[in-house]
Structures are given as C-alpha cells and as structure tokens.
Symmetry: C2
Subunit: 311 residues, 2 copies
C-alpha cells in the first residue's frame, strides 16, 4: 500500500526521487500521513497540522528551537536529521585539522615563497594524539580517518564508556588529563548547559602544556560556538599557548566583522559550512528514503525525537 | 660485531639514537664501513671516499643530481630515501584536496562572513572519484585515506597493473579516460622525460568535462612542478574549466613573486613543504636504523639506488 506524503515548503528533484524510490505518493498536506519539511528552520511551518498526520520529518540535526517553541507535539512522531550529516562534518574537522597543522592560512595569504619560514614549523598529523571532546556521531565519524592517517585518539564522553577506535576513552571529569596527553583537540560535542564554555583559559593551557617537550598543538571546533570561550581562545593564540585553531562555528554567530579571529594567521576559519549544501541535500534525501521505507514497513524510524531527552 | 659508521656533514640526536639502537658505532670517515649523509644536497660532500667504505645512505628521495654528477659510483652500495617520506607527502595531498574542495583560500582571505557565497559551492570529498596519476609510493599511500573518507580511486600507472585499493587501474594511454571519469585528480608520479608536462590544456579540459552534469573538480600536485603546464593551468583556472588547484610544487621553483597563482582565490598553494622538516628527520632516522640493521645482518638494503633505472 502506498504511503501519502506531503513535502513543504517545497520539494526538490532529490526528494521527489526519494519518495518514488520508497513507493510513496506525493499529496497535499490535508491528505498526507507523513510530512517532509525541507525548510532549514520553522519559518513558514503550518500553524495547524491535520489530526490524521502521523509523522513529521525535519531537516535539521539540532532541533532545540522546534522543541522550545512547542512545535514538536505528542500527537504524532517527529524525526530529526541527527546523525545524517555527521560524516560531512567529521570530514570538515579533518580538513581544518590538517589545514591548521600545515599552516594553510599563512600560506593562503602569502604573496611570496615562505619555505624557509614554514618548513620547520608545519607538522604532519601522523604520529600525533588527538583528543575528541564529545564522542557522539560526529566525533565517532572522524576516528577512522585519523587512524588511517596514523594518529591516535583519546575520546572524551559523558560516561567514559569505551569508544571504538580510540586508544583510550575518559569520562567528562578526565577532560583535563586528556588535554594534557593529547597534541591536538577536536570539539565535536553537542551544546547543552553542561558543555557551555567547556573550553576556557585553563583547558587551553592544558592542551598547550606538554611536560615532554612536544610543541603546542591546535584546537578544532566543528560543534557549537558556545563550547568555547572566544576571548580565552584569542588570548591563547596571541600568547602562543596553543599553536593554532580551526573553527567552523562561533559564539555569537555569524562572527562579526572586525573580530580579531579574522586577522590571526594561526586561525583557519570557515563560515559554518562543514556540512556543504550539496552533500546535505543528498544526505537528507537518503534519510527521507530510508525513513519512508521504515514508515511503510512499520519499523522504528531513524532519529526519532525524544522530548524528554531534548533531541 | 659492531658496524663502524660515519655521519656527515653533521649528526643529530635522532641519528645518534638510530645508530645506538642498531648497535653500531660512530667513527671518523676514514675508519667507517658506512656513511650516513645528512645533507639535503651534495654541497660539502667529500671529493674522495675511502676505498674501505662499503655503503652510503643519502637523505634525498630524488637522487637524480647525485647520479648526473657521477657521485654515485659502482665501488660501493648507495641508498636513497625513496619511499621514506611518502606517507607525509600523501597526507599533504589529502590536506590540499580537502582544502581545495572546501575553498580554504577564499575563507583564509575573507574578513567577513561568506556563508551565503560559499555554502552552495564547497564540496565534501565523500562520494567523489579521484584519479591518482602515477601510483608510486606516494600515490599508493594516499589511497587508504581516500577510501576511508568514502571517495573512490582510479589509478593511472605506466603498466596498468592493478593498484590495491583502486576501483580501476589504467595504463598511461588511459589517462584521458581516467580524467573524464574522475571528479578530481592528484599528480603523484615521478618526473621523467615521459611525464614532462603530462598535464596540459587538453588534459585539464578532460578533467573539467563531465557529460553527466557534475561540476568541475580540482587538481592537486605534490609530485614535481614540471608534470604540469603552468600557463595552461592558470588559463583553466581563470576560465573555470577546473574549479581549483592545490599545489605544493612548481615549475620553476621557487614560484616567483608576481606569478598569477599567488592571487587566484581558486588556488591553495604551499611552498614545497609536503614533507615537513620535523617528520623528515624522524622518518630519515627510522630508515637509517632499519638500513643499519640490514647492513649488520647482511640483508638487502632498502631503497638501493640502481644506476640503470636512474633512482
């Protein structure tokens, strides 16, 4: 039996194909059992949903605003895109890490041959130890590439339950020891009350301090801007406490013109593009196809939102 | 029995440790059976070597100048460092590839938030097809990371003999078909008469042309500058025939001030630092330790230079 599905505010060829591939039929909202919301936020979302609507698929991985506004209700199932974009964000973390170690900001701004200045200061990732702070779907997705490139991983998560591929996993209270032991760190955790400004001056000092003479490493943030105290970061970069930072997220965001981060040669920054539009459309269409298949087969949906858990 | 080994023009703590670990003894050149040459070129190399010297270990991966000058003789064994630095160079190729796809030059030069300009044009590597032109030790070393990141590989080598990890290997005469099928290309081959300006206007057109509507990809060069026709590259970048280039090597080198490559936002360039000094010292010390072990045990040395083959 074909499932009637509505797509709002507008469909795309990829979503049309996902619906076709799942054997579903596109209809108006009033006739639909499922709604695929292709908007990136709540703007234009229907004030009232038909009582017969059983399931809403959202496009965002972070749905806190949808929950806070009361839009996500208990009358039907709601699914997010949590996990669907993790591999692309993990890939960006790797790009920023390699790019920071190889001083791509200095090189991209240079107008002359700087080999004698930088050959001695650039670093390979191979042989380094990387702390992954918050080993959720993004953090776990970056581990295979780090391992393939010969780096080892210390994972930090809430429980301390061992993370596959990490040489060591520590619980949140082991953060400082992880930073002391690691060369570099990747912030990959979600933003909650517990993690607000998790990384401040003290943690940056731990990351940059090595009793065995290793030079300070770099900090990467692809998670949320507010995991990091921006002023403390700028101070740590200026003083050389850490060697560099690769940042895709900021607090507040967008990063305002004139912020010192724009000018520091030790900062490699991108404007929240870790999950490129092109890949996002493809990944979202794959999730829609899979969840439509599950909905049709009466299986549990992927990325079901749990109001108590908050995502 | 301990092997007497000389180190010239000067030793380092890492080389001292390699010699100790192999159970060898450091002596003056006149008393030595083996010479470790730690210089990056022939400057200061002894005019005459003792007849009793059985083996010379050089630090360079490319030893053409040593052969051309007649320094490498048939009176003893000579070894190069070919292969010893491949993993670091392969890592740099990956950094340039990810960095080009994610437009790090545009972002490193920006002083304002460009998300609306670049979110739609940056690309993930995942799902792309990468042609590796010249699948020697560097080319083969980049394949595992590409695979881990979800890209597939078309390898191009002289023989067409299948390369491990590549979805397809083609011989040199299949270069154009490989470029047509691939999204992006990495030049990783050695510089010989056959490969001089292997990539010109025609090959760049093939790389940028996709009958199925894919957008043009990027070209990476970590091998030798003269594999590529620089003028044709600049023209292909200006016309949008290809989307970008990541370059660590140039022809001539160093790249001269004022060359248009310094100014193009679609170019990510580094000044021949793919093999960072820090890693090179470590990798060379590992090679020295291994070859001293083999020399002592009368086993075949790694990276033995073959004058007929030319490396």
């Amino acid at each position: 039996m074909t499932v009637n599905v509505a797509v709002l505010p507008e469909t795309t060829p990829l979503i049309d194909e996902a619906i076709r591939s799942a054997g579903a039929t596109q209809v108006a909202l009033s006739d639909a059992r499922a709604l695929i919301w292709t908007g990136s936020n709540q703007s234009g979302f229907p004030d009232q949903l038909p009582e017969t609507l059983e399931w809403v698929q959202l496009k965002s991985a972070g749905v806190q605003p949808w929950i806070t506004s009361g839009t996500v209700d208990l009358s039907r199932r709601w699914t997010s895109a949590v996990g669907a974009y993790s591999e692309d964000v993990a890939e960006h973390a790797l790009a920023l890490l390699l790019g920071s170690l190889r001083q791509l900001t200095v090189h991209a701004r240079a107008k002359t041959w700087l080999k004698s200045e930088t050959w001695n200061t650039v670093r390979s990732l191979r042989g380094r130890t990387v702390a992954i702070i918050g080993a959720g779907s993004i953090g776990r997705a970056v581990i295979p590439a780090l391992s393939t490139l010969g780096a080892s991983v210390i994972a930090v998560n809430r429980s301390g339950r061992p993370v596959e591929g990490a040489s060591r996993t520590v619980a949140a209270d082991g953060l400082e020891s992880a930073l002391l032991d690691a060369d570099d760190a990747i912030l990959a955790g979600s933003s909650t009350e517990d993690t607000h400004r998790l990384i401040g001056a003290e943690q940056l000092r731990a990351l940059g301090s090595h009793s065995d003479g290793r030079t300070p490493g770099v900090l990467i943030n692809v998670a949320r801007g507010d995991l990091l105290d921006t002023d403390a970061l700028i101070e740590a970069l200026r003083s050389g406490t850490i060697a560099g930072a690769g940042l895709d997220v900021f607090d507040p965001e967008p990063l305002e013109d004139g912020n010192p981060l724009w000018d520091l040669d030790t900062v490699l920054l991108t404007p929240h593009i870790a999950n490129p539009k092109h890949s996002m459309e493809q990944s979202f269409a794959r999730l829609v196809a899979e969840n439509l298949r599950r909905f049709t087969a009466d299986e549990e949906l992927q990325a079901l939102i749990d109001l108590d858990r908050g995502y």
